[in-house]
């Protein structure tokens, strides 16, 4: 058996999600090859070659692959897949976009967003917003799988010494063009890998009020997230959304502020190690899953939290 892992990257850096996918792939049994697709991404391939557990790196680069448009990448994955028992990608928006298209070309029923590998053909995946866990067995010859990154430890980024082999792309399908991106920029850790996440909901009342959370986040070295209601209201950008249909996070500490705890929100954070919440309504469902719940007005409690952290000299780890 041999496993192909589709690398998630931005042509400059290999994303940590790829490291989680390499771990999952290793558990399926077999040699792990990482496929890096893009343009001007030699550094990414070099980084992938150093990841422990990676036997080989395939590098496909040309202009049509630069933006990883699904129409141009899926045929390449389908072509290369013939030599592998599994093709694995992290369940990032890139993986979610490209992999099913490759699955169609291979006539394979993909298994989405797995949280555990039971054996080479059997996987566990959450369904119904994580309220049930299905164990599914695939009968496809080539198995296509996307991996929920938060449930697999990252592979060691250093220590490996895989060879890098160039492969050709399959050309521009001529169906789509990349017109641009507006990526959120901030200095804080990435939401999906942060050790601490502090999220705000509709209770925050405005985007400006999120500054209070940012100040606490900066003390703790935390990422800032949000509920759908806060994103829909325009307080923060879409990439802050935690939940069933946003990002899934599992930090050491998740602090929910002014968030009620709807099923769809819980789906994205209930695997956090410790959950704390601040909400003025003691009946809010978030309290049922919180390890430490504080019934309080957030406009008083959050500044107080900042003050207390400063007083205690608590800093980011």
């Amino acid at each position: 058996m041999a496993i192909l892992v589709y690398a998630d990257h931005n042509n400059q850096e290999l994303s940590s999600a790829t490291l989680n996918a390499v771990t999952a792939a290793g558990q399926m049994g077999g040699d792990v090859t990482v496929l890096v697709v893009g343009e001007g991404c030699d550094a990414v391939a070099q980084a992938a070659a150093k990841v422990q557990g990676v036997a080989k790196v395939l590098l496909a680069q040309d202009a049509s692959l630069k933006d990883q448009l699904a129409e141009n990448v899926a045929p390449l994955i389908a072509k290369l897949a013939e030599g592998y028992s599994h093709v694995v990608a992290p369940a990032t928006t890139t993986g979610k976009n490209i992999m099913p298209r490759a699955a169609a070309l291979l006539d394979t029923q993909q298994v989405s967003d797995i949280i555990a590998v039971e054996s080479a053909d059997t996987f566990i995946r959450p369904i119904y917003a994580g309220n049930a866990l299905a164990t599914v067995q695939s009968s496809d010859a080539i198995k296509l799988i996307t991996v929920r990154t938060t449930t697999f430890a990252p592979a060691e980024a250093e220590g490996g010494s895989a060879s890098v082999e160039n492969v050709d792309g399959t050309g521009d399908a001529g169906l789509s063009t990349f017109e641009g991106a507006a990526l959120s920029e901030n200095e804080r850790p990435e939401l999906t890998t942060a050790r601490v996440v502090i999220s705000g909901g509709r209770g925050m009342q405005s985007g400006d009020n999120f500054k209070m959370l940012e100040e606490v986040a900066d003390i703790l070295g935390a990422a800032v997230g949000a509920s759908r209601a806060a994103v829909d209201a325009g307080y923060v950008p879409n990439d802050y959304q935690v939940g069933q249909t946003g990002k899934v996070v599992a930090p050491e500490l998740y602090i929910a502020v002014g968030i009620s705890g709807a099923i769809q929100h819980l789906a994205g954070m209930k695997d956090s190690k410790v959950i704390a919440c601040i909400n003025k309504d003691e009946e809010a469902p978030i309290f049922q899953i919180a390890d430490f719940g504080l019934v309080a007005d957030l406009f008083q409690a959050v500044p107080e939290l900042k003050g207390e952290l400063e007083k205690q000299g608590i800093q980011a780890r």
Binding site: N10, A70, E71, T93, K96, N97, I98, M99, P100, R101, A102, A103, A104, Q109, Q110, S112, D113, A129, N131, A132, A134, T135, Q137, S138, S139, D140, A173, G174, L175, S176, E179, A181, A182, L183, S184, L220, D232, P237, N238, D239, T245, K247, Q264, V274, A276, E282, F287, Q288, I289, A290, D291, F292, G293, L294, A296, A301, L305, E308, Q312, I314
Partner: protein
């Protein structure tokens, strides 16, 4: 321009599902079912395209049991012109759904198929991309904005890092995200009118699609339960617990 909108009947998003004691699946008996929320957004977008004069006809499609008709009636009441129901009891994997949709696309020749980005029951997030792959069409997934001009469309996609814009040639596949629009509620007169609209029935066999599952569900289990519910009385106590008891800050 003709637009197809596949709509799925799923457990209502407000319902907390229960896993069956024998671990064969979740208990769907007597549970409120609704249209997949993402599909409401897809229908809304298609109907708006029609109201704007861009689309000429909106056709809703559903695969599922007899009761999926109710979901189609909802789509018709929102403004779809007619509907196609592929009647099927039992499991349907996204690949099978996509294959059936591809056959219907062959019969209907639409310019656009607008789907939800994911169904909130199985959360597969595959069907639109599969369909695009099967047809060899361009795909705009997880979109929060849509612009159609002449033969070309431009979409804004919600991605992990923020937003991304891509251009697509028609015909194309779109899958919609939450912030594309706010779906309307069907008015009573429109619900009455929808009763008279046509729902054509088909079977997977009519479409020549083999529905033998590729995946076998071995068991469906309850996730581990969290022991939450503890309260603290003050911020000082909260910080103390997080620092000294849990050791996470």
């Amino acid at each position: 321009m003709k637009v197809l909108v596949p709509v799925k009947r799923v457990i209502d998003y407000n319902v907390k599902v229960r896993v069956k004691a024998d671990q064969s699946g979740v208990d769907l008996a007597n549970v409120k079912m609704s249209m997949n929320p993402f599909d409401e957004i897809a229908v809304e977008e298609a109907v708006r395209l029609k109201e704007a004069g861009t689309a000429t006809e909106v056709v809703a499609i559903s695969m599922g049991p007899e009761q999926s008709q109710e979901t189609l009636r909802t789509a018709l009441a929102m403004g779809a012109d007619r509907a196609i129901h592929v009647v099927h009891d039992g499991e349907l994997e996204p690949l099978m759904v996509a294959k059936m949709l591809a056959k219907i696309v062959g019969e209907e020749s639409p310019d656009l198929v607008v789907l939800g980005k994911q169904a909130i029951d199985d959360d597969a997030n595959q069907t639109g991309q599969l369909l695009a792959g099967l047809l060899g069409w361009g795909q705009g997934t997880f979109i929060s904005k849509l612009k159609i001009e002449g033969g070309a469309i431009s979409v804004t996609r919600e991605v992990d890092g923020g937003l991304e814009k891509i251009g697509l040639k028609l015909p194309a596949i779109l899958t919609v995200d939450l912030r594309l629009n706010e779906p309307r509620y069907a008015s009573l007169p429109n619900i009455m009118k929808a009763r008279k609209k046509e729902i054509a029935k088909k079977s997977p066999a009519d479409l020549g699609v083999d529905t033998t599952p590729r995946l076998k569900t071995l068991k469906v289990a309850e996730p581990p339960k969290r022991q939450g519910g503890k309260k603290v009385g003050s911020i000082a106590e909260l910080v103390d617990k997080l620092h000294n008891e849990a050791g996470v800050i």
